[in-house]
């Protein structure tokens, strides 16, 4: 026999479960079937990655700051600063493994965007070297050497010494020739989001400013920030250091869809 107290208790529980279920059903009915897109402009305005939208506007000789096969199913755009410690750590511990594995096997297409921060003395200059190298097809080597020696070249700002170790003497001369007119301070992102001015005689500054403006639109609030695109859809921007096993797991989840 169930006592009266127990029956009351069971009745109260049943009533609460029923009311909870009613609220949930109402939530399921009235909640939007397809959630709103994220605030990133790449997803809100267009599902195409930024590089594909800008491809038509790219001038001949524009720096190619990409690694991998353009037709890879996954595209990853990274906004980075060569002097930021988190960016260095992200490159060494995550991107390097990703380049050797998923970029090499054609699963991921990596796009680098410069987002030099104002607080870093030499990051804008490093971005100039990387862009000049990208104009002659040497981006990957220079990108790697800048991150590999991140603790060294900011000491005195002598970036050329390290770039010279990554490219042939002939290519170094070509890079130097591109940077010949770059004498003014390089463009950097501003805390107040104001537009940096490219130096007129410096051919790479325009591309750095383009990246910074794109970063403002995302908006990039910290470096590194990355956006992943798959099957024409963009996933929300992520910031900070993500380890390769976790990033790989996300890629595998996308590829198994």
């Amino acid at each position: 026999m169930i006592s009266r107290t127990s029956r009351d208790f069971i009745r109260r529980i049943a009533a609460r479960i029923c009311s909870t279920a009613a609220i949930l059903i109402a939530f399921a009915i009235f909640a939007p079937a397809s959630p709103a897109q994220t605030a990133t402009p790449t997803s809100a305005k267009s599902s195409a990655p930024a590089h594909k939208r800008a491809a038509a506007d790219a001038a001949p000789g524009a720096p190619v700051k990409t690694i991998g096969n353009r037709n890879a199913p996954i595209t990853m755009e990274v906004f980075s600063d060569y002097q930021c410690p988190s960016c260095g750590s992200f490159y060494e511990n995550t991107l390097r493994a990703m380049i050797q594995d998923y970029v090499a096997s054609g699963k991921v297409y990596l796009i680098h965007h410069d987002f030099p921060l104002q607080m870093h003395t030499y990051s804008g200059q490093a971005a100039r070297w990387a862009n000049a190298a990208a104009m002659i097809g040497q981006f990957q080597d220079v990108d790697a050497v800048l991150f590999d020696n991140q603790a060294k070249w900011p000491v005195d700002g002598d970036i050329e010494k390290y770039v010279a170790g990554a490219v042939s003497p002939a290519n170094l001369k070509r890079i130097e020739a591109i940077l010949k007119g770059c004498t003014a301070p390089p463009p950097t992102s501003k805390a107040d989001r104001s537009l940096p001015q490219p130096e007129v005689g410096c051919p790479v500054d325009t591309y750095i400013v383009q990246d910074i403006v794109l970063g403002y639109q995302i908006p990039v609030q910290a470096t590194p920030t990355f956006i992943i695109h798959y099957k024409g859809q963009s996933y929300p921007a992520s910031s900070g250091i993500i380890t390769w096993p976790i990033l790989k797991q996300f890629f595998d989840t996308l590829l198994s869809q």
Binding site: A222, G240, T243
Partner: protein
Amino acid sequence: MTPNETRGNFARTLLLLGRLALAGIFLFAAYAKLKPQAAMPWSGSSIKTSLSLFAMQVDSYQLLPPQLVSPAAHFLPPFELFLGLWLLSGVLLRYASLITTLLLGAFFAVMVRTYMAGLEINCGCFGPGERLGPLTLLRDGSLLALALAVTIGAFIHGRKSRTESAPVTHASTPQRTD
């Protein structure tokens, strides 16, 4: 209605509102983490993708080793959903609110530690895209205070209920001795 009864009703109403607010917040937090991203329809695959995305946010806190990140990321949103439903039902409220307080306390401690360490990452509290900063700390601190208040209220209310429903002993009633 006596002043004591009025105060009691007011306290019960506050407790109910606090409980429902916490339940709503936890249900929304779980929904924000589980909802499909990038215009995908609701499906097992979309939830799996959302949980993998959440795992990246958990990983960015640099607190757990990689082998624990994924289990934690797959456990937290369903647990938040469960806690939200539990708070909504009001069943065994003392325990539900206590667990909620402990969970929010842990979240808050991790967030403060991360902020103090200077890591500029996404909070991950209500889905992707929200930067961890002073405002998120203030919000989560307020939620912790609310959870603590509900827990204290639930324990006081529970004790009063037990006292009121306890059988009255008539000490003065003469006992039969035969």
